[in-house]
Symmetry: C2
Subunit: 141 residues, 2 copies
DNA sequence: TATTAAATAAAAATAGTTATCGTTTAGGAG
DNA sequence: CTCCTAAACGATAACTATTTTTATTTAATA
């Protein structure tokens, strides 16, 4: 696996402890955390870390294609180190956000490009519903 | 066509000029305006209209299924009186948001329900790209 | 028409995010 | 390795979208 420092350098970013921490945290989670969550997770081990820096860092990363921003309709944006366009499920009960991979979407891209006058660059598909865990809990209760 | 006043009454809402104005405005546009835009559009003809009321009204409408909230990644939410789940295209150049209808999505719902442990209630598909108008403008420039 | 709970406008408050500014630091030059 | 400088940092103020508060007005029913 490529070193985080190396990746940042390749993107023309100065390598700082804060940036390494944010990027590593995103690489090691599938939870799609928001800025606040990232900050709270890093604060204990990185005493010198500010929320403003997290926001600024995420903004740089986003522009350089190192992370993807995701808005599922909450107050705040979530972030994902998987930058390839991919759909997500959102459980409306527990709020859990999960990645999803569907080949069918490329067909849809093609169809829209052919039939409508619109060149698709990227798509965002969010499936809202109830996850298995919550459904089972509902039955029990 | 059913009267707006009648529709509001059926939903158990008190019929007020402000609510009628907001709902009619949304029925008569395909532009997916945000709260600010709705307010500015109505202010001239409805001198007694406040932004807070627009927000509150949209919130009621949303809960009662009269409108749909749409977040395409701008700072603010857009609103649509077409409440049936449907995809949208967003032009990243001019910001235009357009409705889209695709049958393929029901297949995707089914696939996710069958293969993953997730019950889909509603989906939001946003296709980001460049609309025909902007592509033509780019070629000219 | 009188009553009253609900809706309103205006303004204050809040949440998420961005900008400012003085200080610190990464990283290249010497 | 040390010096230098632009870039990054933390703290905090500012900003934007939205929500809440409160006193006033109004829709709808009696």
């Amino acid at each position: 696996m490529k070193e985080t420092a190396q990746i940042l350098k390749e993107k023309g970013l100065k390598v700082t402890p804060q940036r390494i921490a944010v990027y590593n945290m995103l690489l090691n989670t599938t939870e799609h955390p928001n800025a606040e969550t990232i900050y709270k997770a890093l604060e204990p081990t990185n005493p010198t870390m500010s929320l403003a820096t997290v926001y600024k860092t995420l903004d740089y990363f986003k522009q350089l294609g190192l992370v993807q921003e995701l808005n599922v309709g909450e107050g705040s944006s979530r972030y994902d180190a998987v930058v390839k366009c991919h759909p997500h499920t959102v459980c409306v009960q527990c709020g859990k956000v999960q990645d999803l991979y569907l080949d069918e979407l490329t067909e849809i891209h093609k169809k829209v490009e052919d039939e409508l006058d619109f060149q698709v660059n990227c798509e965002q598909l969010i499936l809202y519903g109830v996850c298995g865990n919550c459904r089972r809990k509902n039955k029990e209760g």
